[in-house]
Symmetry: D3
Subunit: 257 residues, 6 copies
């Protein structure tokens, strides 16, 4: 039985869709069918600012509704701010939803005592720190280390990126006593393996971890009915209201990588 998973890049550019799709498909379980999607331009091509997260909110919610209707088993919102995670879970009734920070931090906390998150800019810290706290892992954070790179810098010159990540990962392990490393941006894909080999601790990739967490969540949802609880924070809005207020959805699957 196939598990249909949607990786949604909540940005108005599809430049990362194909490489992420390719990488995730290599890593997916045999029974997983993976689609990758991004938002329609024009709009923010990165979400380094919370105001961009809000700006894409409407289209993001529409896409979540579409994904739920389209029968996906799991949805991954592909931004390390976990943009709209709570909101998406309200909409999802059958589908499970996860996101990179949640998936990476749960996993890192299982693999070691302390975690260092390597982020692009200092600006990202407060929102990510808040998320870590909310998920329960605030006390496990050894450090946030800043790479001084923006989202679109990571894949521009892979060697430079890898070198910086390597340097900060080493410092995190040695100076901050981190036992695990989390790469705190989905666009830091492609680097974990080499860094892990050299540093010798788990280096969690922010695309692969949520893929596997999504497979796991979809598995327990399908088998045991363990889905997002509907009696509290993830309660769904009344169907009629939602239909009226959450804009139209996605007419076709054109554009799915």
């Amino acid at each position: 039985m196939t598990t249909r998973i949607l990786w949604l890049n909540p940005v108005a550019t599809d430049v990362y869709d194909a490489p992420i799709a390719e990488s995730l498909r290599r890593a997916a379980a045999e029974h997983t069918h993976l689609d990758v999607l991004s938002l329609e331009p024009p709009g923010p091509t990165h979400l380094e600012y919370s105001c961009y997260e809000m700006t894409v909110g409407g289209q993001l919610m529409a896409t979540v509704r579409w994904a739920e209707d389209a029968g996906y088993d799991a949805l991954i919102i592909g931004c390390f701010y976990d943009t709209g995670l709570r909101a998406a879970r309200e909409i999802a009734t059958r589908m499970v939803v996860t996101a990179p920070a949640e998936a990476c931090l749960h996993l890192a906390a299982t693999l070691g005592d302390t975690i260092s998150v390597l982020v692009g800019r200092r600006k990202w810290l407060p929102e990510m720190r808040d998320n870590a706290e909310r998920y329960g892992f605030g006390g496990r954070i050894a450090s946030f280390r800043v790479l001084d790179m923006g989202v679109h810098d990571f894949q521009r010159d892979a060697d430079t990126s890898k070198a910086r990540i390597l340097r900060e990962a080493r410092a995190a392990v040695e100076e901050d006593r981190a036992e695990t490393i989390v790469l705190g941006c989905t666009i830091e894909y492609g680097f974990y393996e080499e860094v892990q080999r050299q540093v010798g601790v788990p280096v969690i990739d922010a695309t692969l971890a949520p893929l596997k967490y999504a497979e796991y969540l979809a598995d327990v949802a399908g088998r045991f009915g363990w889905r997002h609880s509907k009696v509290g924070g993830y309660q769904s809005p009344p169907a009629e209201e939602a239909a009226a207020w959450i804009p139209g959805g996605r007419p076709t699957t054109a554009g799915v990588a």
Copy 2:
């Protein structure tokens, strides 16, 4: 010198604009010029669900940009979820921004040791609890008490609403040992005075407290330059990017109550 404050009801209905404007103007300082605004329909007329908060995100950000450009000294985002507060502070460079939960909880924590928040529905709790934690007041919450009313119920039958609020406020003080009460929805306006008189503890109204906090913040911003810090979480996006990605703003002040 006039302080220009904008109360923004982040919902696509203006039914609450006039009564809120009237009530706030009665309470405003002499030098305050207050405008009240809501979003353009169609769209959610309440934000009980986080997915509605995301849905209005684009128009909300556009309005925040407009308010900053229009020269407001302070902006209040009129929803007790404090929808988009972080995002709005990124956009604001001169203007200060606040919101009901922040303003009410800071004040209540100054007036008493423990706080009970009277909310409409159980569904609201997780998001409000998270906010209380982030603001630093998690340990001060004596209880969240649920009135079992939706946003649009509060003003439908004022006597019923007041009676329920009174009953829960009393129970909060007697059973939960709350020392202060916060009315956890902006549409619970009009009730604080009578409840306070009967219960004998401060009952903080979620429209008046942020108005006064906004006046205070605008005052210290104007006099001492104490505005939202721009070196971290409230850093503004590059101007060109923001201009391109945050949709158009508000063409006219038509519709300002």
Copy 3:
């Protein structure tokens, strides 16, 4: 490629081995080969007391060593106290290790905001509360509810057990505002489905959740090399020392269910 998982009942009785094996095998992934094992009598047949956990410590460690040597990909220590989890992870270098409380709480925290854990006796609470805190979920616990049943009571009269669990689960959802339920003993197996159906929130079974979490962890370990970090708390003892001090291991797989 087969994933070999060992469920270890850390008690000196095999009465639960066959039913747990049967239930887990029904739930396991196709590629999972599952073994179930318990300890050699004489010794404690339940671990309700921490002194029994210590008493089985030697045999438990020996079995962990044996499992690592025998090539298991994942080990589950089948007690909701997560007995010896840290210790087992020191020994494991290739194998991943998990346990019920860890697996259930991570999952429940992903599915809802708040959790109620249904335990057998009040006596269990302090140790379980400590574990919940250490894992990061202390702030998410809506309640521990006590069933007033010992480990060996749960399967004695399934109808009574189910009725009590149902009653407390309902109360947890209604009175404590729990959004998810966790069955806080592995021997509460067999009940989750009916209770979940009646109460309408996720009811997490303490055998199935760790099985699936183990499959997930083994998957990411095998694919990406994400294993327990060896630079800190899970560092392995020197091989020679461990060989000398951790008693002999398990001569045969006889007794594996």
Copy 4:
């Protein structure tokens, strides 16, 4: 309508009364009437030690009683330890009471994510850390930085003081990732503006922030009746008892700056 605010320097020296009065009056609202007062010598001229706080306790309480009776709308206890804040709020029934650490930390937490407090001596840290925790801002403190100066050093050589504050403020922003700076002693007055100009983040002055917070609190007290709650920690002692036990009060307003 005039708001009468009393700034009380809880030390037995009036050397700071005039400069603080002058500075505060420049910053006060038009409708504010500000008095500045200190205690009668002999006695401690600074409160760097908690034993001095206790020593001035009797005279401090007497002055609070006098201020309440004299009809002040707000009282500010002018020491960054917030000496006797809880006690003063018991006595105050109509008057509101605040103090520098409370006012500065609430404001800083509103303006940025993290706070660095620049204090005079390491000795001050435990008491200030405790206060920050109690107020809810412990998790927001990026650092306490020590200037190695006593209370009476700050105004002795303003250039040296400013240079040290500037150096530590810069380090706080760059090394500790502070987003806001709080000057952790009332006698650090006169420096915030220049430091803020050079460092580029809000630098909160410990005299101006509580003045404005007091005006805000007096405003909401007067308009809405939001005063310190009397059902719990701020309950007033029986009038007769208080009259007998809290020594005489202040016979004249002579000495009010």
Copy 5:
């Protein structure tokens, strides 16, 4: 070698000196010489209000100085608010200082997982809760239970007091799952034994526990030099300053019970 311990009732009445002295002497170690002292009238005869704690501050500090000079090995400040504990430790350089809440909570946390504190009035809670937090035991408090009695009520009618304490202690164990009980006022002396016998959990008396903790602290101070650290929060004020500012001390030991 004799250990000289001073129990200081920080209230301006000696009515409790003799009974407390008698009870403590029965419980003291053979080598302990115990004195009991109270403050000079006129002044508060109880400290239920924080403003009374401040009011007695001057005389309290003077007595601490006198005790240090008089060669006491340990000082106990006999109020469950632990009035002036930090301040007294600044003054003490050779002498150790403790107080009831500190001693009782440390002990209770060693004897059981959770603690219920039985206090006189709801008014006391915020200050006691703050102390419990500061000492590290906030997470261990099962409940504060309110007896609705003032300090001077406890010994007025011993049978009534005991009956109320018994009732609340039982409820604490059964309803709040407290594993230990702390009597949260020194004037609740004389009741612990009977209550403990009937309830079956440790019931910690707020006079006996600090006596024994003081003996223990004096023992390790004398043998190993483990006294209050002087490099931070307990640093002593300069001798000359302290001599000038902390009023005169106690001329004679007249009045020592």
Copy 6:
């Protein structure tokens, strides 16, 4: 009346028994009769790994049962991991049980605001940090400093050990602002005095502090009946079960130092 205290080195070597016994006896109260015991070889001679703690679990529990039966008043489990403390307290009904980390941290938190713990290896940190959190002192830890020495290194070359401890203690006080130092391994005995003399803050020895805490606990147990509560986490297992499952105990006191 004699207080009988057993110091149990939970390791299968008696090399430390005699020196610890000698040092403790010099420090014990007159009425204390002290025995020192270790486990039977073969087995771990140190417990740097949690898997060794589990390995000695059976013999440790047997010895605890023997100690309780043999009439000891207090038992100290001589490892800074506080191995099996909860378990031992279940078994003890008359005897009190303590351990080094508990005793040292309670004492250090009484003597100063912040604590630095000097441990042997980084590997030890997670377990010790967890214990500090559980005891309530997580927020008081200024730092864990790592000496890069194993248990058996400390007494090999006393001068080197002392020099390293001295260096890290100094750095802890100066760089980490520690107000007290705790030596985080029982085998760091013999060093505290010199280090304390040179560094000038309390340096708590991990053998002497628990001895004195045990004397104190035995004293209050004997006089007031304040023993480990039996209604919750320290409830004893049914006698018959425990007799059957906790292996045989210690036939003779041969081997007691």
